[in-house]
């Protein structure tokens, strides 16, 4: 399936700059979510036009959130290039994101699966709720891991949950227990993905070359920061204050101790491996609810946590 999956009817040519903006946005994305949709959809035997619709939907929602996110965070770069709001204008970035979400509703309503529309609306609502709450966490130095997990469930988890559930809903497999299990799996995937992304900020398994300490420098404690600094926040405030003001990773590791960093990284990986084991357990539960011709879906789902967290295939 294509990643750049929109048609001329999605973005009228008479609207200035819109096509150019979307061309750049969709060109550089990895399309992980739409590829996931493609694999699950194929395993379920969905028609290719339905798979394309679902893939387009998730990419539209995801990219809409990126357009808005970059503006809200005032991030100058996206995927190594100038963010849309800097290259064009903030107004265009807002309108372009809104337009993508509107196109999602137009295309899904034309498809006619009301349950799918409800599911999508809920996912967008959760995503925005998560964004709203996360914005208040910037410069909040007493945030805890459980708080971040709640936000990430809404923000990141909502789209993963949608990716797992939407193909079944598109197939009219509206079984509450099945969808509930998929929701549990999607929740775990969302947390793992976010925590892995947070590790990149500390140059851990950072093959994609993401900017280092970007979150900390902008006053945001991500999940790994909280994990690293929790005991200093309780017992050694001065060290905590020194650590959060660091401008480089070397300085940061000096402030908290290299050994402490490595030890806490091992603990963090261990805790997330526990979540991966829990995910595999949930997959086993899921198998009991799948029809015989659906069981191959679990093969695709099995390797996901490794991909998302460890960023490698088995």
């Amino acid at each position: 399936m294509q990643i750049k999956i929109y048609s001329p009817s999605d973005f009228p040519s008479y609207l200035p700059k819109l096509n150019g903006l979307y061309d750049e946005l969709f060109r550089d994305g990895k399309g992980f979510r739409s590829r996931l949709i493609g694999r699950i959809g194929s395993a379920l035997g969905l028609e290719s036009r339905v798979i394309d619709l679902l893939g387009q939907t998730i990419e539209f929602i995801h990219n809409a959130s990126l357009l808005h996110d970059d503006l809200v965070d005032r991030s100058a770069l996206r995927r190594g290039k100038p963010a849309a709001w800097t290259k064009y204008t903030p107004e265009y970035a807002v309108l372009a994101g809104d337009y993508l979400l509107a196109r999602v509703m137009v295309n899904l309503s034309a498809h006619g699966n009301i349950r799918l529309i409800q599911e999508t609306a809920q996912a967008i609502s959760d995503l925005l709720e998560g964004e709203w709450i996360q914005d208040s966490l910037v410069r909040d130095m007493s945030v805890r891991l459980t708080d971040l997990d709640r936000v990430h469930n809404l923000k990141t988890g909502s789209l993963f949950k949608w990716c797992l559930r939407a193909p079944f809903i598109a197939k009219h497999r509206v079984d509450d227990r099945l969808l509930g299990r998929l929701e549990e799996c999607g929740t775990i995937l969302g947390v793992l993905f976010q925590r892995s992304d947070d590790l990149l900020d500390f140059d851990v398994r950072n093959d994609e070359g993401k900017a280092i300490l970007g979150d900390l420098k902008s006053g945001y404690l991500n999940s790994f920061s909280v994990w690293l600094l929790a005991e200093f926040r309780e017992n050694d405030r001065a060290r905590f204050e020194r650590a959060i003001k660091c401008q480089s990773l070397g300085e940061f590791k000096s402030a908290i101790g290299e050994e402490h960093f490595e030890s806490r990284l091992r603990d963090f990986d261990q805790e997330n491996q526990r979540l991966i084991d829990l995910y595999q357990h949930r997959l086993q539960e899921l198998q009991a609810d799948l029809l015989p011709d659906e069981v191959s879906v679990t093969r695709d789902l099995k390797e996901l946590p490794q991909l998302l967290y460890w960023r490698k295939r088995n």
Binding site: R144, R150, N153, L278
Partner: protein, 373 residues
């Protein structure tokens, strides 16, 4: 039942469920403990997965449990005892001040009985929340000693019943020396009210009535009831003290629910803050504080006008000011400022309690000192 080496999921009708909830799995001995897994999914309460319980088999050595004493202190939650201790002690102080015939044994018995009962209710609260599976979705609430596998449910239940029996024994002893009817009525009423709060058979705790129930239970019911039981009559002083300490409990419970507005809202628990909303809850905190100050003013005016009461006023003002300041600064339900609001309210309660006790002691010793002269 679905099991991997590390996890097992049991349905609600699985005969092994109760054993697992009690902290045993029946096959792996005491070295391994089944610990209930909390779901990361905030929508669990809307899901049919509510009828399934997932446990993780954890090596007891890996539980990172603090010392046993610390764990039990966490479980008993002594910081909350002030909510029942303060109103009772204030009434006893009034009665002693009016020279009502009370022996020191009776006074200490009543206080011990109240503490035992309150501690028992705290433990029943944790036990029932665990057995009903609230620990699967709520990352707050209670002492969390069961959720973390630090204690077994059976141990908590045993100690809860033991404390309850102790409280009953003390109560019966006091009954033997006083008019049994009124005291028994008060004791039973207090216990039933406390149990409803903990066990929540009627769900009052999660239907927005917790605050009102707290005002009544920790306020007029305790003070007027105790006064009646010990003197056979009612008194305005007891009522006003009940209103004051009831307002403290009202503020504390409201702040506890406000602190958890996000998680309760996602779990569809209709506490007052969830129903009223974030902004209205902040306003309600100010109103509760106003009620508290007004109640204290009434106590100052109508309850034996000892100047030593001003010590309690200083304690109250010094506690409530910072608390209100914190609430006014809160901008979101996950802000760091939200955390510890309930603890802040309990600190205020202890400050007020200490202010009353110090004032009473100064008054009594002052009188004795003057008499000696």
């Amino acid at each position: 039942m679905v099991t991997t080496d590390r996890f097992v999921t049991l349905t609600a009708d699985d005969p092994r469920l109760r054993l697992h909830l009690m902290g045993r799995d029946g096959t792996r001995g005491d070295r391994v403990r089944p610990v209930l897994v909390s779901s990361l999914n905030p929508h669990l309460f809307r899901s049919v997965q509510l009828n399934e319980w997932t446990f993780e088999y954890v090596d007891v050595a890996a539980l990172r449990r603090p010392s046993l004493m610390k764990v039990w202190l966490l479980a008993l939650r002594p910081e909350t005892w002030v909510l029942s201790l303060a109103p009772m002690v204030s009434v006893l102080g009034i009665l002693l001040g009016t020279s009502t015939a009370l022996s020191m044994t009776e006074v200490l018995s009543v206080i011990s009985g109240i503490i035992a009962l309150h501690a028992a209710i705290n433990l029943f609260d944790d036990y029932h929340d665990h057995m009903r599976g609230w620990d699967r979705v709520e990352s707050h609430g209670g002492a969390r000693v069961l959720a973390q596998g630090w204690l077994r449910a059976g141990e908590v239940r045993t100690v809860a019943w033991t404390l309850f029996v102790v409280a009953c024994a003390i109560g019966l002893h006091v009954l033997a020396t006083r008019s049994a009817g009124p005291m028994a009525l008060v004791a039973v009423g207090a216990f039933l009210a406390g149990l409803e709060f903990a066990v929540s058979r009627f769900g009052l705790k999660y239907r927005g009535y917790a605050e009102i129930a707290a005002w009544f239970m920790f306020g007029p019911m305790l003070t007027v009831g105790l006064n009646w039981a010990l003197t056979g009559g009612w008194s305005l002083s007891a009522l006003l003290l009940g209103s004051l300490f009831g307002s403290v409990a009202l503020l504390a419970i409201h702040l506890k629910n406000f602190e958890n507005i996000l998680t309760d809202g996602q779990a569809r628990l209709l506490t007052w803050p969830v129903r009223a909303g974030f902004d209205a809850s902040k306003t309600f905190t100010v109103l509760c504080s106003g009620l508290l100050m007004f109640s204290f003013a009434l106590v100052l005016v109508f309850v034996t006008p000892w100047p030593e009461r001003l010590i309690a006023l200083v304690a109250l003002v010094s506690g409530i000011g910072p608390l209100l300041g914190r609430v006014s600064r809160i901008k979101s339900p996950v802000a760091g400022e939200m955390r510890g609001l309930y603890r802040g309210a309990l600190r205020l309660a202890w400050l007020l309690f200490a202010g009353f006790v110090v004032g009473d002691l100064i008054h009594f010793w002052g009188d004795q000192f003057v008499s000696a002269l």
